[in-house]
């Protein structure tokens, strides 16, 4: 998955073009009405009403239940390790390094798991969720493009603005809540389970913001924003002067002297305050007093004092931003002094929505996230929680990134076992993201001569990927200890990973080959395709996976006629892209470009990019291309810490699937898991699902009687 690229795009829009950012980042408006006190009050009210109404709802559910299912099992436990790569898994199993996975493979099954086209997190997990191809669930990439502006926007969530306001002097009181819509279509299999009175707990499955409503509980995941309304913007307060902007995310602020050489002050800017004309940011000032000899510091913020040590991440710290009198917006973040010698710098992690009093709906029921917080303490709520950007920008280091990743993983593990220990019957799915992040950030240490690791000798985290896979195996072992005789366990990943050594700028290639034109006088260095002359452009790339034709009547300034002309252009582009060579490295960069019209079926396939690019091992869309910069080389080395990836030809990066039962198919796909889950609970797969069940239900017949409620 590509939190980095996503953040690059969104952060760039926020920083580069405020008016454009307002158009689609949006959540600033959302905080206006969902103020902290109001949310807490309403949440408590709903919780109280829900508790009182529970017996009546249960009775109503029994009365309304139209079809009875006969579950073949008692519980289905699904553990997802996003990005776990089969080649590494198989090698480590053969070497005896993954004893629990090996046991599961021996007593049940192990197989590679076909991912989706494209093989990226939002698409693959959406197919897991719905049992349908992207043409039916409408998620084709992290990003979509707005055909009116050619700008990128989040593909999975739409947040509306508040149009009706009451003006009182400088104040603007919103008179309605903004709409927040999940754009993933079709129907999750857990909703269907719920229609048959089977409970599901769904923890951090991607593309669940806002959360689904069904008979069960859900903690949302991607693409829950941070408090700034982005997908994860870190802040760096520093005494270093610099005109440079971070390329892929992160904001730099001044840390100003405050009376002595060891005292400093700064202001953390929070979300837009939509109660006031002009939407000024809400602010929280702080002071920082250093004890250089002890390598410690004291931060005073929000009336609290926080002890910081150089190079150590603080625990979660709550930040309260005042909106108007009596209303606050709160978030949580982690802090670290990254240097305090000649220069002083303070890293502030992305400010997560606080789970105790969330300002946006991040769970179903609404109080489930608060319940988890009360039980387990504060935890990361950001959809893309691990701060890969700060590492990529060298603001933090490998150790800090791994500490943050481990801590989030521990939070997730506690959530899994809290839910598992309470689940008497039904379905539980929990997705862990650490594997994917570690693959992305540490592939450079496993790949001989990776451009990003050439100068590094014996790095501390050389074995980070293997260590992660061992940790995953330990989690599986703990789950296996808790299984009963009528429980089914699945372990899966949505895709694998491979090396990312060379970036491909598709827009530069389109420019070179006459399909894209620049505005007169432009050097092509502007972001977000601002350099493009649409009246002379026939194709362009936005997002991470593909290419769009500039079609008349579809795009705002389309010039390619739909029908025959568009079809012919697509064929022409495909012929040139299939087998495209990187002349410098003398390797194939693109295996194949896929025509999505042939690839997808369903009512939403028209929203897909026209061509999906299947990069070869080692290649992927370049950082510049992701931020809409047209100028520059078509191929260039990737020298960032983000060194492994999977937005490649999906046939190269399948995931893994293990279960404690056999499967009767040799080539399972992630799209098969939803119908299989339904069949385990005695429910026929829904007609719109294309996946096919993987199990022979006769295998479970002996368990049937004891599994009956």
């Amino acid at each position: 998955m590509h939190p980095g690229l996503l953040l690059a795009v969104l952060a760039g829009v926020v920083l580069g073009a405020p008016s454009i950012a307002d158009a689609y980042i949006g959540p600033g408006a959302g905080f206006a009405v969902l103020g902290s006190f109001a949310v807490l009050f309403v949440t408590m009210l709903i919780a109280g009403v829900s508790i009182l109404a529970w017996p009546f709802r249960m009775l109503w559910r029994v009365i309304r239940r139209r079809t009875k299912s006969k579950p073949l099992i008692k519980r289905l436990i699904v553990v997802g390790f996003d990005g776990q790569e089969p080649r590494i898994t198989e090698r480590m199993m053969a070497e005896g390094k993954l004893p629990n996975l090996s046991k599961l493979a021996k007593t049940g099954c192990y197989s590679k798991l076909r991912s989706t086209f494209p093989s990226i997190t939002p698409v693959a997990w959406s197919s897991f969720t719905t049992g349908a191809n992207p043409g039916k669930h409408n998620i084709f990439d992290f990003l979509d493009r707005d055909p009116r502006t050619y700008l990128p926007r989040l593909s999975s969530t739409e947040i509306g603005s508040v149009d009706r306001v009451l003006k009182l002097g400088k104040l603007r009181i919103p008179l309605a809540k903004p709409s927040i819509r999940l754009l993933r279509k079709s129907k999750p299999f857990w909703t269907i389970l719920g229609e048959h009175n089977i409970w599901s707990t769904v923890i951090r499955v991607p593309i669940t913001f806002p959360p689904d409503k069904f008979y069960g509980a859900q903690l949302g995941a991607m693409c829950i924003p941070d408090l700034l309304g982005t997908q994860g913007t870190f802040l760096l307060f520093t005494t270093r002067s610099s005109e440079e902007r971070f390329q892929e995310g992160g904001l730099r602020f001044e840390l100003s002297p405050n009376g002595s050489k060891d005292s400093f002050e700064g202001t953390i800017k929070g979300p837009e305050n939509t109660f006031y004309e002009g939407n000024p940011p809400m602010e929280v000032p702080f002071t920082l007093d250093l004890d250089r000899a002890a390598k410690q510091a004291t931060m005073a913020i929000n009336g609290d004092t926080i002890a910081l040590r150089r190079g150590e991440l603080s625990p979660w710290v709550k930040l309260s931003f005042k909106a108007i009198a009596g209303m606050k917006v709160t978030g949580i973040c982690r802090l670290m002094i990254t240097e305090m010698e000649e220069n002083v710098s303070l890293y502030v992690s992305p400010i997560n929505i606080e789970p105790e009093k969330p300002v946006m709906p991040i769970s179903h029921p609404g109080y489930y996230c608060s319940y988890l917080e009360k039980k387990l303490g504060p935890y990361a709520t950001l959809g893309l929680a691990e701060d890969t950007w700060a590492l990529n920008e060298k603001v933090t280091d490998d150790h800090t990134f791994m500490t943050q990743t481990r801590d989030i993983e521990n939070e997730r593990e506690r959530m899994l076992f809290t839910a598992l220990d309470r689940l008497r019957k039904g379905m539980l799915v929990t997705v862990f993201d650490a594997t994917d992040r570690v693959n992305h950030m540490f592939w450079r240490y496993t790949d001989d001569d990776h451009p990003a690791a050439r100068d590094i000798d014996d790095p501390e985290y050389a074995n980070a990927i293997e260590d992660q896979y061992r940790r995953n195996d330990e989690v599986v072992g703990k789950v296996m200890e808790r299984l009963g005789p009528n429980d089914v366990l699945w372990v899966l990943s949505d895709h694998g990973c491979t090396s990312f050594r060379r970036g491909v700028n598709l827009n530069a290639w389109l420019l070179e080959n006459g399909y894209l034109a620049l505005k007169e006088g432009s050097d092509g260095r502007e972001e977000w395709l601002q350099s493009v002359d649409w009246s002379r452009t026939r194709a362009y790339a936005v997002g991470l996976v593909g290419m769009f034709l500039n079609i008349e009547g579809r795009e705002a300034h389309g010039i390619v006629k739909p029908g025959e002309e568009a079809a012919a252009l697509k064929v022409e582009l495909k012929e040139k892209l299939d087998g495209l060579q990187d002349a410098v490295e003398r390797e194939v960069a693109i295996n194949e470009a896929f025509d999505t019209d042939a690839l997808y079926r369903g009512p939403y396939k028209g929203n897909a990019p026209d061509l999906l690019i299947g990069y070869n091992h080692g290649y992927r869309i370049s950082w510049d291309c992701a931020s809409g910069v047209v100028a520059g080389p078509v191929f260039e080395d990737n020298i960032k810490a983000w060194s492994g990836d999977h937005i490649v030809d999906p046939r190269l990066v399948p995931g893994i699937f293990l279960a404690n039962h056999p499967i009767h198919r040799e080539d399972p796909a992630i799209i098969d898991l939803a119908p299989t889950a339904l069949s385990l609970f005695g429910i026929p797969p829904a007609a719109h699902m294309e996946g096919k069940t993987l199990v022979d239900t006769a295998h479970f017949d002996g368990r049937e009687e004891s599994a009956q409620p």
Binding site: I46, T130, S179, K185, K187, R601, G602, P603, A687
Partner: protein
Amino acid sequence: MFSYTKVKLEKSMVDKIKRYAAIAGYSSPEEFITHALEKELALLEDAEDEEEIKKRLQGLGYMS
């Protein structure tokens, strides 16, 4: 919790919708209805003022 509104439709229309929704690959008739309406509304949504909305409604055949 309170984000949906119920609308009544004639049974004969809903029967047709059910059939078409299944053929098209929607998970439910509600999904088909929502998508159909979203597509129509998208043609009106970025109109700048009421006059322009009226023009578009006329152009789409909803007003004379």
